[in-house]
């Protein structure tokens, strides 16, 4: 009896170890590339490792600043995040699909995001004042570099 179940257990473990080994890469999220860079050296408004861990902190702080104090700096603005990370073509991914920038990682991490119940998940050009991210005239870089003033964080 015990020998039999032990055999089943070991077989199962071995099979389990072998199978995903072949499809290892597809387990990690495929995060779509952004439309611009923050600077030559830095992709996003903060170093990538910092953003991965702390983007929520920046977003939460900024939302209170904007909502209650009318501060509309662009560095941590959610609208600017979307403008940069999501394309504005009509067939761009919605947040409900895993190909959306935010969903690609959030569905992998199984963390629910509430933002897009209210916020637009794609950039929308509504008027000249709400244009796509102002990009700098850069001669050397192949990807456009954003023109956002760095705000000092407290």
């Amino acid at each position: 009896m015990i020998k039999h179940s032990l055999l089943v257990l070991v077989t199962g473990l071995l099979l389990g170890m072998v199978m995903p080994g072949q499809a290892d890469d597809s387990l990690l999220p495929e995060i779509p590339a952004a439309q611009a860079r923050f600077s030559e050296t830095q992709g996003c408004v903060e170093p990538t490792a910092d953003m991965r861990r702390n983007h929520m902190k920046y977003i939460l702080h900024q939302r209170d600043e904007t909502m209650h104090r009318g501060i509309r700096t662009k560095q941590y603005s959610l609208v600017e995040c979307i403008n940069c990370h999501v394309s504005d073509t009509p067939d761009a991914a919605r947040v409900s699909s895993e190909e959306h920038f935010c969903s690609s990682c959030h569905s992998y991490a199984a963390v629910n995001i509430d933002c897009f119940q209210c916020h637009a998940d794609r950039p929308v050009k509504t008027s000249a004042t709400q244009a796509m991210p102002a990009v700098a005239e850069s001669g050397s870089a192949s990807i456009p570099v954003l023109a956002i003033e760095e705000t000092t964080h407290e």
């Binding site: 909502m67 009318g70 501060i71 209210c118 000249a128 003033e149």
Partner: protein, 248 residues
């Protein structure tokens, strides 16, 4: 190391220079106002030095005209779902007919942005709040959708979002299960512009709506308020509304 800091300095100068140029180029076509507000820099918090207000002249308001309503709906993406009882309306045209004399008139009714807003008093989480410059807003991040503010508003200015929404305007986030109302187009005001309704009324040369700083005696609205008689709706409640009316 010093190379890196030099590079950073260079980058910053380069970026801010480009930002100024491109931002100017981007903003210029969008500027078409008659009265530019105090263009407060984006990183500066609002203060109570300014108090935003609106003066609406009912005499100049034509029956059947709803340019202000259409502009508001367009600006904020209020598309409606064919359900008038539950669709959001941030501004609406109201027709009044005197029961005794038969005199009729119309006026737009919107959130009055009171100085002592009942909606702010009753909100259990503080989501309904008054900004330092007098604009009354709903912080939809902490709104739990209890609708008590809707019960409390003496002007029925608030709407509840009764369905799932998509394709919201980026500068006017709105979602199911929260309460909303006229924001005085706060995103435009913060950029130094006027609300969409006022802009539309002025652009069509009706000139029934004036927006500006009530604390500034030299602003157009303050001068008009001083010169002409105006009233608040439900003035007896002493809420000191930011929106005043002529001709009622």
């Amino acid at each position: 190391m010093s190379e890196q800091s030099n590079f950073d300095q260079y980058r910053r100068r380069f970026l801010s220079g480009s930002a100024a140029t491109v931002a100017g180029m981007a903003v210029a076509p969008g500027v078409l106002l008659h009265e530019i507000g105090h263009a407060r820099p984006a990183s500066q918090a609002v203060t109570d030095e300014v108090r935003w207000g609106m003066l609406i002249d009912s005499n100049k308001c034509a029956e059947g005209c709803d340019d202000c309503v259409k502009a508001c709906n367009e600006e904020h993406g209020l598309t409606g779902h064919g359900r008038p009882a539950t669709d959001s309306q941030w501004i609406r045209k109201v027709t009044l007919k005197d029961k005794q004399t038969g005199h009729t008139q119309t006026l737009p009714l919107l959130c009055q942005h009171c100085e002592a807003p009942p909606c702010v008093d009753v909100c259990p989480t503080g989501a309904s709040f008054k900004r330092a410059d007098g604009i009354v807003l709903v912080d939809k991040h902490i709104c739990i959708g209890c609708r008590y503010c809707m019960m409390a508003c003496p002007y029925k200015a608030r709407s509840f979002i009764h369905e799932t929404l998509t394709d919201q305007k980026p500068y006017s986030p709105r979602g199911k299960g929260t309460v909303e109302s006229c924001t005085f187009c706060v995103h435009r005001v913060d950029d130094g512009e006027t609300p969409a309704c006022v802009e539309a009324c002025t652009a069509e040369n009706h000139n029934a709506m004036v927006f500006g700083d009530l604390n500034d005696p030299s602003s157009k609205i303050s001068q008009q308020l001083k010169q002409y008689n105006s009233r608040q709706i439900r003035a007896d409640l002493q809420l000191n509304t930011g929106v005043r009316y002529r001709g009622i």
